[in-house]
Amino acid sequence: MRAVLGAGALVAALAGPAWAGPAWAGGVTVQDGWMRMLIPSRPAAGYFVLHNDTDGPVQLVGAASPACAHLMLHRSVNESGQERMMMVEHVDVPAHGAVTFAPGGYHLMCMQPSMQPGERVNVTLRLAGGATVAASFAVKGATGE
């Protein structure tokens, strides 16, 4: 398993198990992270729940992973039966709230994925202000299994 040494990852590694489960940076935790891997030449999708247990709002502004050339925040929108995808600059998470990235809504778009179903990959989420929170995501296949 590759070690990702960013400040956030280091905090997470010192604070708890780095191989599974939630990772946290000052009251912000990421849980249930998973990737849907399709085919190598097409983007994969990432999903998770971001919990903000602090007394103030936080803002998710980006993401990175060694398993993706680029990771972008996206949102699927259905308007009158028409589906489209839009890039998202940031997502606000209110104090003592959470945001869910799930199929059909917010998702991470992982460009040029290098991962296999059954593996785990590290994903670092970036918050406004510079804090990061890293977590290990389970890689699933196209059908989500």
């Binding site: 699927s76 589906e83 196209a142």
Partner: protein
Amino acid sequence: MNGVRRRTVMLGAAAGAAGALALPALAWASQDIDVSGSSPSLRFTMTRATDGKTVTAADFRGEIPLLYFGYTSCPDVCPLTLANVAKVLKRLGPDAKPVRLLFVTVDPNRDTLPVLKQYTAAFGPQFVGLRGTADQLMALARRFRIAYSVTVKGSDYEVSHSSALYAFDRTGAARLLIPSLATNPPDIAGTADDLRKLVEGGAGGGFISRMLSAISGIV
């Protein structure tokens, strides 16, 4: 949920004609729309991704085609829809055998045959990738009033497409419009029940079979 209350239809000699008009339609899951007789039959010319052959609707006679328009660079809604179709197939069990998901790419410029083949194979052998020229795609989409658009801005693509799936019976007649299998939660059970009716229906919803179904109380 598949609990359906069916009205008993009395067919007297005199009431025969009027009774036929009053026959209940097959009852479908709440989100699925009966388009029997109102949407056209399946007709298209496309290239099949698995073998590069030109195929038409005739190649799917005897099977239960599900028509869906999407593109492979979409990592969220299209895979979600196809993954839910895979769940429906699983729930159908042996009845899933004749069902084919026809994945028609609205992005033929980027979705080459090898990519389409690899992508659909990731969902299962019953997922068939179809790719056409711009004209072939437009003809099929227009036939079923499916909207799509591909806008290229520099290196950025913006694609929009309908969430709907159309289900056809073994004769190629349009039977159901499924508005979306990308909702949360999806109606896996209801969709499976509806497709099972098409699988078991033989030649499908002709007047005679509907009449016999209503009389015998079997759907």
